[in-house]
Symmetry: C2
Subunit: 404 residues, 2 copies
């Protein structure tokens, strides 16, 4: 008689964004006349840039001709894309990452969920609190997080690193020594970031205690300030302790196009076992590559035209971020983020819980945001708005919030 | 100090097709003047059908316009695609599968590797021997297969069901009761198939002992004979015991385009836990959907024009299969498969091992095939050729084998 993986049964509720999606669908069904504006899930709204569209059409044409048709992709991804990544995202920033240390995938969500597989089930993870829920949820599904306490919203075997107003939403080194440390900067959900010097402290700590840092740099393109690292490999010693996850979703609008990559340096070892070999084995056995035409679209992100068009696209969203931040501040909200990240993190008014404020916003302003408590217990009392709407909707949403 | 998942370290060698790829690359590097023909990895060579190309271009144009741009896809996949699947692959064949029991993915390889995650680590798997290596490898990586014995090429905790010439490459019910049974028909690698009556025996058995059947129907489009089921849901009772995996790789040439789906009926339960809920949770948490433009391409597979064009494409490959089978038979080889499947399974001559024959073919005929032993111990002494080459290369490869 088969049995299920009962770690799944320990998970509280459904995946955060699935829950929000359901609530919004139900509200719309009950109120078909209402026009709901979503600044909730971090989904982009601007069309793909012309250089990317051109690359996609070109690649589709290649698939129509036997002479240029492409079947299975190379295990790690096409070299043309890995070379473009190695040059633009690493070499040009002074980081030493080779093309064969880059694994192309269908997005950072999958990679951030799958990467834990190559580690022992006995390893203890440390996460920022609040944090993108995929890190904890996927470790819970693997059985690495112990038991869930509903009262505290915490797992018994996870080291939580609170990111609160007191520490400017930047975690302190944990008291208990972790084996795997998830860091995401610019941060989802708080929009906070970390300086290069601060990140160096984490790299030195990881090397000292023998921990691995899983560094999620999905929002790197939104960094506007100096001395904020675009990659953890800007720090000395990161090649022996860090894996980096990158996404094309937010810098190039690929949320529905699906492309990302993971860097596993060959210097990152446990004894004489290279994590690179394990991830290569997983990639080869459980994955079959991103579509050729999507990898060609990824290459276009690094073309001169692509870079210019995407700089404008990021600028568009960051103008939204500024609009939200300043608008909320003018209404008296306590707000952070939005400078190096497309997320605005606000304190709910009048000590409302995050979900109370979610319901208020949905029902009274017809605006969807994301409850901070969905990202972890220290997110309670906070709320995330994203800059990924259209400018018109962003302005309209703010006006509705002002009239609450 | 972090530790790795040491189940990975128990795996013998690299993923089969990665090994073959490396051997071929090395041979080509050492013999740049040789023109190697691959009938090895099951990769297609014919371009995407015109109806699919048209759908891709159309979807790319949608992504260029804010009014039709698509971000994150629905968790299970777009309804237009799931409805097309439910109608064409199920309702039209008299199978009762609803659109919301279909989970769209980026291919059957990923799904066949990931599906084991929703089951207990204590469950015992049964596999055909020989078999597509992903089933066993991914269970080994999860720690479900015990220890590997190099001498026998077998894992201690796997139930092997030999498929040999004696049983016409169709497995018998296992003596030891399994929890999870992997079946793949038409079969990779043997090209053998199973009748509807024979499959009904497995469904009845699974319902009786409380096992789940993971039914890989990736090669269903190649069925040419009557009374061979296209789906396990043609059998009575399959909704309470079977998960089905389907691919667009072989019926529509999507090996480099990446699309597949998994069916988990809501009647499939462990106690009161629906496997559908667990797979939905995995899909929502660890996956972010196939690209919109690829899902539109998938929809075109079910259009009238698409169906007609793909019937011709499958016919093209099946003519190759016939050519290979009859050619080898005329040379005195013992051959099976190739009638309801794009794979030809041949006995190596003069009691050569599978890898000896691989090397001979590569070095003397410059033809790449797949060693039968790579699919399991009962594959030793066998060899797989695929019908997915061009007709010209298929004929040329046979001529070279004839001249060995």
């Amino acid at each position: 008689m088969f049995k299920v993986n009962d770690n799944y049964l320990k998970l509280p509720g459904s995946y955060l964004f699935s829950t929000i999606g359901r609530k919004v669908r139900e509200y719309k069904a009950a109120n078909p006349e209402k026009e709901v504006i979503s600044l909730g899930i971090g989904d982009v709204t601007q069309p793909l840039a012309p250089a990317i569209i051109e690359a996609l059409h070109g690649a589709v044409d290649e698939m129509a001709d036997a002479a240029t048709f492409k079947g299975y992709a190379p295990d790690l991804g096409y070299e043309f894309l890995r070379n473009a990544i190695a040059k633009n995202d690493y070499a040009d920033r002074g980081c030493e990452i080779a093309a064969d240390e880059i694994f192309v995938s269908d997005g950072a969500k999958c990679d951030s969920g799958n990467i834990q597989e190559i580690f022992s089930i006995e390893n203890k993870i440390a996460v920022c609190d609040p944090v993108y829920p995929v890190y904890v949820d996927t470790n819970a599904m693997a059985g690495r997080t112990g038991t869930y306490h509903t009262a505290t919203g915490m797992w018994s075997d996870v080291i939580y690193m609170p990111c609160t107003a007191e520490n400017h939403f930047t975690p302190e080194l944990p008291k208990e020594t972790p084996d795997i440390i998830y860091l995401c900067f610019p941060n989802n959900p708080t929009g906070a970031t970390i300086t290069k010097d601060q990140l160096q402290v984490w790299v030195d700590y990881a090397n000292k205690v023998g921990a691995v840092i899983i560094y999620d740099a999905a929002y790197e393109a939104y960094i506007s300030e100096e001395n904020v690292p675009h990659s953890i490999y800007e720090c000395v010693g990161a090649r022996t302790c860090a894996i980096e996850l990158k996404s094309f979703s937010k810098n190039a609008g690929f949320t529905g196009t699906r492309l990302g990559y993971t860097v596993v340096p060959k210097d990152l070892k446990s004894g004489d076992v290279m994590l690179h070999s394990l991830w290569a084995r997983r990639h080869g056995t459980k994955y079959n590559g991103a579509p050729y035409i999507i990898q060609k679209a990824g290459e276009a992100v690094y073309s001169e035209a692509g870079k210019e068009q995407l700089k404008a696209q990021v600028g568009y969203y960051m103008n939204n971020a500024k609009t939200i931040k300043e608008g909320l501040q003018s209404m008296g909200y306590t707000v952070s983020g939005g400078v190096n990240a497309p997320y605005i993190w606000l304190k709910t008014p009048e000590k409302m819980t995050s979900w109370e404020f979610f319901d208020l916003l949905l029902e009274k302003a017809n605006v969807v945001g994301t409850p901070g408590s969905g990202f972890g217990p220290s997110g309670e009392g906070y709320f995330r708005l994203t800059a990924f709407g259209t400018y018109e909707n962003t302005v309209a949403a703010l006006e509705r919030i002002r009239n609450l």
